[in-house]
Each structure stands twice: as structure tokens, then as C-alpha cells.
């Protein structure tokens, strides 16, 4: 029901653009999200490679943008993020480029394509819409996800959880994790960049005997809720989504401070070919309506303007994520080798 309303709102907003309160915002406040009504109409045709993880709600956003722009044709190829990244690189090598845009759920895949020199530089006023730590010259983060420690308040209290992720192996907590999951591997990459290889290996080995392994992070959160373990390592939205379906779930969130344990990672989009329509399309993804929708329905962190975080997550100002260049998280190879050496995967 809410999704329908969203699509309608976005497609009829054109008519509402005459309302003074919508246009009054203007372009004055660069740090606040731009409403759809102020965006130029999309014209022509774009081909989007859409890498999917848990991205069912992205479809709604794309449908709404298509409805609002009747003279715009969007062709979508869907596929697993890593496979599409490989495909883009193979196409570039053969000189048969098909895609105009690549939207990936994982900044690692973005980093691969950017490192291969295939992404176009984005206009400065577009990146200015993003919060300062999320401004990159060749790609635009769309929504964020923060690493969290979901715990079961029936089994442990918040006071038992250390402030530092590095102290976790020294506790006597039982822990759920999903080492084969891309977000987990990005988190280990961040740890490697912050603490060094030696400390990370030590941490992985220390954790090995305290942890139970799951296929994905929804599984981790469900295991915490059922009381199979005390605490888990997972992206924030799994907890929020599970709680939205089951409000009395025995789940609470803890955050570490200033280390890889509260890394903010992002899904992002990049343009593979130059063109106004492609960059305008990215502007739609950063619009107030789309960002608000991703936050309220998908529980992702809005990264454009200064929109509130989804209910259940402290504001970005109250969190202390580590200072890591997200593009560097693409360097997964050493992380995989390290995890193999520690016997985790």
C-alpha cells in the first residue's frame, strides 16, 4: 500500500511543482536534499545494470522514476553484483559497452569498476548534495548501511558489550556471524586498513572459537532473536526489518566506537558513459523523495542532504564511524587470503 502511494506521489509531483513551498527551497541550501519537483525531466533512453542484493525496493524507485518521466525509457539488466561488475569490465575490454549506468548494492563492486577507469567524473554540484564524507569524484553513494552488534537483551545487557570491536574476542559472549557475506568481508577489509594485518588475523583467530557461522546476515539476526547466541555481527537494516515484522522481537542494537565495528558502507551508482540524462538520473536517486523512501521502507541510511536516519538508529552525528575511504574497500584480495589463513572461509 505504501509503495503504491510512493509511486503515485512521485508521478503526480510534477503537477504539484507550482506549490510555493516546494520551489521555495530552490538551489539555495546545497546541503539539504532536493525534491523531485525541482529536477529536470528525463528524456531519451538509458541502460542500467542493476546489481541486486536485497534490493527489491529499488524496483519501486525505478518504476516511480519511469512513471514520472513519460519521455524517458529505462532499460534494465539485472544480475548478481559481482557478475555485472565482471561483465562491465569484459565489455569494456572488447569495446562493446552497453550500459550507461551501474547501480551496485556493494561499494566493493563500484570500486572495481572505478579502479578499472571505466566510470565518468560526476559534476561537482551533484556530489555536493551528499554528506561530506560520502563525496567521491567518480561515483555517488545512494544509501548507507552501518555495521552493528545486534544482541538479545534477554541473554545479555548492553553493559556487557565492549565499546571496541577489537575487544570482542576477550569477552565470554557467544557470537553469530556470516563470513561469506560481502558486507562482512568489507568490514574485515576496513579492520585490516585501520588495525593492520597482524591485529586482524589475531582477531579472526580469537573469534573463531566463539562464533557460529550462518549463510547470510538475516540468519545471524534471526539466530540472535531466537537466543541461539548472545550477539551477532550484521548490517543494521536486518534488525530493523525483522523488528518491523515482529515488533516484540528480543533484539537490540549496540554500536562500537571509532573502529571497523561501526563502519558505514554504501550502495552506489556510477555513470559509464557521458551524458546529461545519466547524471540527471543519478540526481533523481539522490532526491528527497527517493532518499526518504529508501530510509522509511528499506531502513537504509539516507546519504543526500540532511534527512533523518531510519527509526531505531541514532543520528549520524551521534555515531562515530571510522574514517575509511569506501573506495579502498574494493581491495578484497588480501582480506580473503587473511580469512583463509585464519581458517574462517
Amino acid at each position: 500500500m505504501q509503495r503504491r502511494t510512493f509511486i503515485k506521489t512521485l508521478s503526480y509531483l510534477g503537477a504539484a511543482s507550482a506549490f510555493p513551498f516546494l520551489s521555495a527551497r530552490g538551489f539555495a541550501a546545497i546541503s539539504s536534499a532536493i525534491p523531485v519537483a525541482e529536477l529536470p525531466e528525463l528524456k531519451g533512453e538509458l541502460t542500467l545494470y542493476l546489481g541486486r542484493g536485497e534490493g527489491g525496493l529499488y524496483e519501486d524507485v525505478l518504476d516511480a522514476i519511469k512513471k514520472r518521466n513519460p519521455n524517458f525509457n529505462l532499460r534494465i539488466r539485472r544480475g548478481p553484483t559481482a557478475a555485472l561488475a565482471n561483465m562491465i569490465m569484459a565489455e569494456a575490454k572488447a569495446g562493446v559497452s552497453q550500459a550507461d549506468l551501474f547501480w551496485a548494492v556493494d561499494s566493493g563492486a563500484i570500486g572495481q569498476v572505478v579502479d578499472a577507469g571505466l566510470a565518468q567524473k560526476l559534476p561537482g554540484d551533484l556530489t555536493q548534495q551528499l554528506q561530506p564524507e560520502f563525496r567521491f569524484s567518480h561515483w555517488a553513494p545512494i544509501s548507507g548501511r552501518i555495521r552493528t552488534l545486534p544482541y538479545n537483551p534477554d541473554r545479555i545487557s548492553a553493559a556487557q558489550i565492549p565499546d571496541s570491536i577489537m575487544a570482542l574476542p576477550d569477552t565470554d559472549l557467544s557470537i553469530a556471524w556470516a563470513p561469506a557475506y560481502a558486507s562482512f568481508q568489507s568490514f574485515i577489509t576496513a579492520m585490516r586498513l585501520i588495525e593492520g594485518d597482524k591485529a586482524t588475523t589475531h582477531w579472526l583467530k580469537g573469534m573463531k572459537n566463539k562464533t557460529k557461522q550462518y549463510a547470510g546476515e538475516l540468519g545471524v539476526v534471526m539466530a540472535v532473536e531466537r537466543g541461539e547466541v548472545d550477539l551477532g555481527l550484521a548490517n543494521h537494516y536486518y534488525t530493523l526489518r525483522l523488528k518491523s515484522g515482529k515488533p516484540d522481537a528480543r533484539l537490540a542494537l549496540a554500536f562500537t566506537k571509532n573502529d571497523a565495528g561501526c563502519l558505514i558502507n554504501a550502495s552506489g551508482v556510477l555513470a559509464l558513459k557521458e551524458g546529461k540524462t545519466a547524471t540527471d538520473f543519478i540526481r533523481y536517486l539522490l532526491s528527497k523523495e527517493v532518499q526518504t523512501y529508501l530510509s522509511t521502507e528499506a531502513y537504509e541510511l539516507p546519504l543526500a542532504g540532511q534527512l533523518p536516519t531510519p527509526a531505531g538508529i541514532p543520528n549520524l552525528a551521534q555515531l562515530s564511524p571510522p574514517n575509511v575511504d569506501l573506495t579502498k574497500l574494493a581491495d578484497l584480495r588480501p582480506t580473503i587470503n587473511l580469512m583463509r589463513k585464519a581458517g574462517i572461509i
Binding site: 541502460t47 541486486r52 542484493g53 536485497e54 534490493g55 527489491g56 525496493l57 524496483e59 532499460r75 534494465i76 539488466r77 539485472r78 544480475g79 548478481p80 559481482a82 557478475a83 561488475a85 565482471n86 561483465m87 569484459a90 565489455e91 575490454k93 572488447a94 562493446v96 552497453q98 566493493g108 563492486a109 572495481q112 561469506a180 560481502a182 568481508q185 557461522q213 549463510a215 531466537r226 574494493a330 578484497l332 584480495r333 582480506t335 580473503i336 583463509r340 572461509i345
Partner: protein, 506 residues
């Protein structure tokens, strides 16, 4: 006579074409030093055990069902054949996922009925599910072998006082070993290369290693590991080639006429298979459909699936004929036939990427339906080759020789003797390719024309997005379209067939 026959030349071209993506993998793997960690014996033993249990399970289910639908006079025989073959069209990851959701504490079975069921996971869970979604390989290849078998030997054994079951065991099965082996080989290779099922069941296998590498952008490592997996593939290809059936002239068809209650009882025993492989997944999805409400499903997805699969089945059979023919001509032909199998043992997503590189060599075809069909044909050629070869193999040469002595050219002898007698194998091979293409995912996603959605890609979309209820209707349509396609194919079975072999009575 030991000249290089025409079928060799054609086969060589096809075999090289089918092997081309594997050569691309070699090129991709060349800058990798990653080797499979031999210390990690647990993963290797998991992989081998899963393969073994799947093969055994597929034989245990597939062979008795093949006997039932071939020899026993049951009402609506074709219907049962089609229904029992249909699980091959369902993606096994969906089966695994619904099993995971249905069983165990807090599972849907307990939620709905209140009956607690044990959780199904690990090696046992993976093997059960894998066997349920691969036994049609064995069913169809065994049926093709059975139906060209002469019944007189069974009648002789029975006349001499051998009980029914032991005459099947001693007189029928040894003569169709190669047919059973052809299907078992495919089941084993599927188990070796599938990722979704063991991942959902929490079993660490070789494919998981490959996916970890692939997803962390180690394409060359993933290619390298896939090539190492080919050692196991080579081993089972070798083992299968050692299995020999018998060669004999065709004869009267064996038919059992059970009493109605016996027929019903026999059909009742197939019920658990149908329940678990088809009804359970569809029931679970319908339950979610009822809870969540429906989504927007476009019927063109079903049409896309159907015609792409039919085209692929048609061309696969055409390319498979010379290969199967060459395989029984001599060692070289045999080697060329084996080469086409190799690609089937490589995990889908790695193969999909290799096919992108291959497809990019033909830029004018890239991302067209033609290229997608070509990719399907090359990837699933072994499905057709195996069944056609095993049914050609069991042909006694004397009929062809007789025709030649009577003045027929090799071409005429082939058209009038060999081809009609192998028709069942050809139809079975086409059916296997058809069903496998219906559920194919990676190549469809990566190589199809843009926005070309099939039932399999739609199912994947809703599964990834977590809208499981939306899988119910397309899942049902997938079964329905598969059944229609199979019915169409099996109706051509009697076309060109020899009357002697059929004693259908009305």
C-alpha cells in the same frame, strides 16, 4: 574402413565450439596462483560425498520410476511420465529454500499443522534435495534405454521360473547399464557444480570456495578453482565411459498388466516424490502468496521461457546427433563426445562469465536471442548427447549391415534404420535440454537480450527481493509450461518409430 568419417569432422567442429568457453577459463585463470588448499580435506570430502549421495539417490528414485512408466500398463501413462519428469524444470535452490522454510522448529509445517518436524540441513539435506531435482536425468535416460529393449529374454527367464523382481534385476538392468549411467553422470555433474542448494543447507563444498572468490572479484581465482574441479569431472567422465550396456536387435516391447488396485498402489508409491519435489515448494509459496498478496506478473515471461527452451532443445538435438554417432564409431569420436561434457561441470556463474567473453567475440550477436540460444545449446549439449549415444550404442550393427548388403547407402541406412530406432533417445535428450533451459539462470541473466525476462529470472528476482509469495504463480506456470513442452516432444516419439517395437493395445 578406418577412414576419417564425415561425422568426425562435424563432431570436431561442435566439440571445439563447446570447449571454447573452457579455453577462455584457462586464459582467465592464467594470472592466478591460487590452488585448492589440499589441507582442506573436509570441503573435498563434502563435495565428493554430495556427488555420490546425489547419484545414488537419483538412481534409487529414477530407475524404478522409469520401469514403472515404461513397462507397467497404468492409466494415463504419459501424464505420469511428464509429471515425474517436471521437477527438473524447477530451480533446485527454490526447492532447498522451501525445504529449509518448511522443516524444523518454527518451520511452516509446524506453524500450519502443529506437527514438529526435524530440520533438514547439511550433507543429508543437500543430498535429498539434489536427488529430488536430478532424478529426472536418470528417469528419462533409463526410459529411453528400456523402451528399445527386447522383451523375449525376460519372457524366457520368467518361463524358466525366475521371479519377476529377480528377472528385472538379472535380465533387464544389466542390459541398460549404459542408459542408467548416462543419466547418473548428469546428476553427479549437476551436484558437483550447483551452488545454491549446499549454500542454503549450510554445507561447505568446492562451489562455495569458487563463489567466495568470484564475489570478491577474484575472477581468475574462481576460474582456476573451476578448472581444478574438472579433475573430478574428468574422473567421473572416465568411469562412466567404462560402463557398457549390451548390443542387441530391437524386439517386442515388454508390458506388465497389473490389476487396477495394483496400478493404483504403484502410483501411490510415487506420491512422496511428487509431494516433495513439486507440491511442497508450490504449497509453501502459495502460503506466502496468501499472506503477502500477489505482485505484477507478466505472462510474456512464460512465453519467453517456452520458446527459448524449445529452440535450444531442437538445436541441441541436431548438434548432438553427429557427436553421438561419432562416439560409437571409435576412440577419437568418443573423446570428442566426452569433451562436450566438460562445460556442464563448471559452476553456472563462472561459465556465464566465460560465455560473455565468448559472446563478445561475436559483437554483432552479443546480447541477442540467437547468442543466448547458442550458449544454452553449447552448455546443455551433453544432456542430449548422453541419452542419444546410450540408445545408439545398444543398437545391434546387424540391421545396419543387412541394409547395406541390400544396397542402401550409409546415409539411407542411417535415416531408415539407425535414426528411427534411436528416436526415444533423441526425444529424451531433447526433453532434458528443454527442462534444464527452463530453469537456467546465469546465462539468461547475463547473455539474454536486455529486459528478456523468463520464468527463471523472475523467480530469482522475487527470491532475491524476499517477496517469496510472488514465486507461487510463476512456479506453477513453470511446471505447467514444462508439462506442455514435454507432451509436445513425447508426441513426436512415435513418428518414424518401428511398429515391431510397439505392442500398444487398445
Amino acid at each position: 574402413m578406418t577412414r576419417w568419417p564425415l561425422s568426425y569432422t562435424i563432431s570436431l567442429v561442435i566439440a571445439l565450439l563447446a570447449f571454447f568457453p573452457v579455453i577462455i577459463l584457462f586464459a582467465l585463470a592464467s594470472d592466478s596462483v591460487q590452488m585448492f588448499d589440499i589441507r582442506n580435506l573436509e570441503i573435498l570430502s563434502n563435495t565428493l560425498l554430495l556427488m555420490l549421495f546425489t547419484a545414488v539417490g537419483a538412481v534409487l528414485i529414477g530407475v524404478p520410476l522409469a520401469l514403472l512408466v515404461t513397462y507397467v500398463k497404468i492409466p494415463w501413462r504419459k501424464f505420469w511420465l511428464i509429471l515425474l519428469a517436471a521437477p527438473l524444470a524447477l530451480p533446485s535452490y527454490l526447492g532447498a529454500f522451501t525445504f529449509y522454510a518448511a522443516f524444523g522448529t518454527g518451520g511452516e509445517i509446524e506453524n500450519v499443522t502443529g506437527i514438529a518436524t526435524p530440520a533438514l540441513n547439511g550433507l543429508l539435506g543437500s543430498s535429498v534435495i539434489m536427488a529430488l531435482y536430478t532424478y529426472p536425468f536418470v528417469l528419462l535416460s533409463t526410459r529411453a534405454a528400456l523402451s528399445s529393449l527386447d522383451a523375449s529374454q525376460v519372457y524366457a527367464a520368467r518361463t524358466l521360473g525366475m521371479p519377476l523382481l529377480s528377472s528385472i534385476w538379472h535380465v533387464v538392468l544389466p542390459r541398460i547399464r549404459n542408459g542408467i549411467a548416462a543419466g547418473t553422470l548428469l546428476a553427479a555433474m549437476y551436484a558437483l557444480s550447483d551452488f545454491g542448494t549446499p549454500a542454503i543447507m549450510g554445507l561447505d563444498t568446492f562451489t562455495r570456495e569458487i563463489y567466495v572468490e568470484y564475489n570478491s572479484f577474484g575472477l581468475s581465482q574462481a576460474a582456476m578453482l573451476s578448472l581444478q574441479l574438472l579433475v573430478v569431472v574428468g574422473l567421473i567422465l572416465y568411469l562412466e565411459s567404462k560402463v557398457k550396456g549390451s548390443q542387441e536387435p530391437p524386439g517386442r516391447h515388454l508390458t506388465f498388466w497389473p490389476k487396477p488396485w495394483q496400478a493404483n498402489l504403484l502410483l501411490l508409491t510415487t506420491l512422496p516424490i511428487v509431494m516433495f519435489a513439486i507440491v511442497l515448494p508450490l504449497a509453501i509459496f502459495s502460503l506466502w502468496l496468501w499472506r503477502e498478496g500477489t505482485g505484477n506478473f507478466d505472462f510474456t515471461y512464460a512465453l519467453n521461457s517456452a520458446y527459448a527452451s524449445l529452440l535450444a532443445a531442437f538445436f541441441a538435438v541436431i548438434l548432438a546427433l553427429p557427436l553421438a554417432y561419432a562416439a560409437i564409431k571409435g576412440t577419437m569420436g568418443r573423446i570428442m563426445e566426452r569433451i562436450t561434457f566438460i562445460g556442464f561441470g563448471i559452476p553456472g556463474i563462472v561459465m556465464g562469465t566465460a560465455l560473455i567473453y565468448a559472446g563478445l567475440q561475436l559483437p554483432f550477436l552479443y546480447q541477442t536471442l540467437a547468442l543466448l540460444i547458442l550458449a544454452y545449446v553449447l552448455r546443455f549439449l551433453p544432456l542430449a548427447v548422453g541419452t542419444i549415444r546410450s540408445s545408439t550404442e545398444s543398437l545391434d550393427g546387424s540391421l545396419v549391415n543387412a541394409a547395406r548388403v541390400l544396397g542402401a547407402s550409409p546415409k539411407e541406412a542411417y535415416q531408415r534404420i539407425t535414426l528411427p530406432l534411436t528416436m526415444r533417445g533423441i526425444v529424451a535428450g531433447g526433453a532434458l535440454v528443454f527442462l534444464e533451459v527452463m530453469r537456467e539462470l546465469p546465462a539468461t541473466l547475463l547473455l539474454g537480450p536486455i529486459e528478456f525476462e523468463t520464468l527463471a529470472t523472475y523467480l530469482w528476482r522475487v527470491y532475491e527481493a524476499g517477496y517469496f509469495g510472488r514465486a507461487a504463480i510463476p512456479g506453477l506456470i513453470l511446471i505447467f509450461i514444462s508439462a506442455l513442452g514435454l507432451a509436445l516432444m513425447f508426441s513426436t516419439e512415435r513418428w518414424n518409430s518401428v511398429e515391431l517395437n510397439e505392442e500398444e493395445q487398445r
